[in-house]
Symmetry: C2
Subunit: 436 residues, 2 copies
């Protein structure tokens, strides 16, 4: 029986045109991170399951990770996310290296998902984190970096927005204003997470099942109705918690001053579940109403290193997956046409006697910094140009017996149709042609 | 109990300095492949085990792969090599796309190895393949590419050599000259593979256990003693098989003409085991006598697509692992110093009032194409320069209350110690400074 030619469920084959798209995206990610002086890192594809157990909820461990026992009876998993790995790595070195620590990575990750649009089992994720105590500034820089990255793809505030909240404020609302216990708070987080995904009746039902006091319920509903930063700040002011929200107010002011105002939208329903966040939490959303989905999520945390018995190192970071980002760029027509390879010179020859010379010329052209495609076999003259087009060549060269004997080759510019005879001893002329 | 901070056995954490080394190596690989007009591809981290079973020996399946059953009862494995994946991908598209198909990839792979110098459980491997019928030329181009890559690292014929053989010639020796049966041939391949790793007595013993005819044994020993192309060709000429070795002779002649003569060494013990090769087989070796190891291996094959019931598509390719290559570059002092990050401008401020301005300036500098590091918090003047050094900055800027009020900032060149006042309205002057 013939083998299946398709990739494993929920994973992708990246043929060259797909790989050029991936490279385009990854290069923008790297350039943005490096423009902000983030340094790249990488970790293992496998980690011990204990690491994920310590950091994440049981749901992830039980249902979503690819875990198994290795041949040495270690219980291991393919990395479903990068945060535990980066925390483990920072735990090793944070005492010795200068802070803030600004690191990025673009690992391949696997989760046991039911494949659907925007969600696959294997994806790549751009991860950026700033570790070390620098107050609100590191949160602002993370937001600035995300905006920089999206701008570098040609996306602006017509295309995306950053929905943002602050876990400190959520805590003020739940603990100080509503005065609810921890168990109810836990349930409220889950409800808030779902608030925009369910119908009003469904939300109403979930709230009523909590049996909150009427005051607490009113506060909660008022909270959920907040539409923007101004409403949030006056709500807190009214309740006597104006001063406690000064940090978030400062973030709002500075981001406005540095040109992020059009991107940032206060959203009370962004809490990022029961995750480890303690400061800001945010999600980047596609503004296309038919494609409303989170492209990126992140936030600030007080101490990811706790599980390693290390002193607290606060941080802020985000993860941005390649699948939803690719959809986003295509939907908004922001993806350049990368369907064809780009080659500077396609070197062909018409006689078997010319094979060695063609190899030699191809390499000389490479040494000048150009991409050269050697035809490797003799190509009939009438096929030369259709081949050149298929392979994405800008120029083509032709080398026959006559040329070989007289020491030159013909070079044609495929755009202008101009043709030039270039002597083997005068390749600098070729350089000028190819550079034009 | 605190969690283990170390990576899983046989895998590596790449801290920024390590990641810069990895990026340096990967960028050279990409540049070389693209200079030869190879196109990038990527495949899934997981494949079904059936794919590896069909392609590889049982040893790999039973002892070396990370395999497990997924939650849908599919028997899957983390990719231990890229060849089965690329064969699967080529099988999907080879009918529609122009040939030759020239593809490269740098996947992360896992094998269940006993970790040791040069051998880890997780590594990255540069894979290049040319698919499609182009005779000896594709073999020659693969050898040219490998040489180009090593040259681009600064390595030359003092540092490495390419040991090469041809499976067609091995077949002539075993089948036509020695006239042995398939089972003995199978054993001979294993012996040849080990010939240079065992002592002469050990080799002698293995050969005698085969009970070859004395003629066959003499031919085999003569074969193993061949030192170079010339000896090989006269040996075959003598035995009446001169013409049958014309293809390999042609490869030797053309590679000599195009400057590869100093790199290529004929070696009868290179056969690449029982693998699927049918044409040339080769291994790149470190010439340092204390570090003799294969850096790269590959060869030509008649039909990788057989397992998919596809028509034959011949090809030639190689795999080059990052672990041994890194050792090679370090041993030969060919690795540049990448211990520090490189930052164009470290932007610091002395007053909380300047925080927004510093964010704004940092971004403007990024828009000019420079890497800028925002200090994020106020930095005491005396710490500015030691920080700048730690973070690898070329220039540093200082912004205090006075500067803020008067609309400029100070920029210092850390190499020349020169200092400049740059007005916020004249950032083009900063561009000139940073470009210098």
């Amino acid at each position: 029986m013939a083998l299946n030619k398709k990739p494993y469920k929920g994973t992708r084959d990246f043929f060259p045109a797909d790989k050029r798209v991936q490279d385009y995206i990854f290069n923008k990610m790297r350039s943005s991170a490096e423009a902000f002086a983030f340094e790249g890192y990488e970790g293992p594809m496998l980690e011990e399951v204990a690491l994920y157990k310590a950091k994440s909820g049981e749901e992830l461990i039980n249902e979503q990770i690819y875990s198994f026992e290795d041949r040495g009876n270690r219980f291991v998993a393919i990395r479903p996310e990068m945060t535990p790995t980066v925390a483990r790595m920072v735990a090793q070195v944070h005492r010795e290296i200068p802070k803030p620590i600004k690191w990025y990575s673009i690992p391949n990750l696997m989760r046991y998902e039911k494949p659907q649009r925007g969600r696959l089992r294997e994806h790549w994720q751009f991860n950026c984190d700033i570790f070390g105590e620098v107050g609100r500034s590191s949160e602002i820089e993370i937001l600035q970096l995300i905006t920089h990255l999206f701008n570098s793809f040609g996306a602006n505030s017509e295309h995306f927005e950053i929905l943002i909240n602050d876990r400190e404020i959520v805590n003020i609302v739940f603990n100080d204003l509503m005065k609810i216990d921890e168990e109810t708070s836990y349930k409220l987080y889950k409800i808030v997470d779902k608030a925009k995904k369910v119908k009003p009746e469904g939300l109403e039902k979930m709230i009523s099942e909590l049996n909150l006091s009427s005051e607490a319920e009113a506060i909660f509903k008022k909270y959920l109705s907040l539409q923007n930063f101004e409403e949030l700040f006056s709500f807190l002011e009214e309740k006597g918690y104006g001063e406690k929200s000064n940090g978030f107010k400062e973030l709002f002011q500075i981001t406005s001053e540095i040109g992020l105002k059009d991107y940032l939208v206060y959203d009370p329903t962004i809490v990022r579940g029961l995750d480890y966040y303690t400061g800001i939490v945010f999600e980047v959303f596609d503004k296309n109403p038919e494609n409303r989905r989170a492209l990126c999520g992140g936030g600030a945390y007080a101490n990811l290193l706790q599980i390693f018995n290390e002193n607290p190192v606060p941080g802020v970071g985000f993860g941005l997956g390649d699948v939803t980002l690719t959809d986003f760029l295509i939907t908004h027509k922001l993806m350049p046409d990368l369907s064809k390879n780009e080659v500077d010179l396609y070197l062909t020859f018409q006689s078997d006697r010319a094979v060695a010379k063609n190899f030699e010329l191809a390499n000389k052209v490479r040494e000048m910094g150009f991409k050269s495609l050697n035809s490797l076999e003799t190509i009939k003259f009438k096929k030369v140009f259709s081949n050149a087009d298929k392979f994405g060549a800008r120029f083509v060269s032709i080398l026959g017996d006559k040329e070989l004997d007289e020491g030159f080759f013909q070079v044609k510019n495929l755009a202008t149709k101009e043709s030039f005879d270039i002597k083997f001893s005068e390749l600098d002329k070729l350089r000028e042609l190819l550079n034009a």
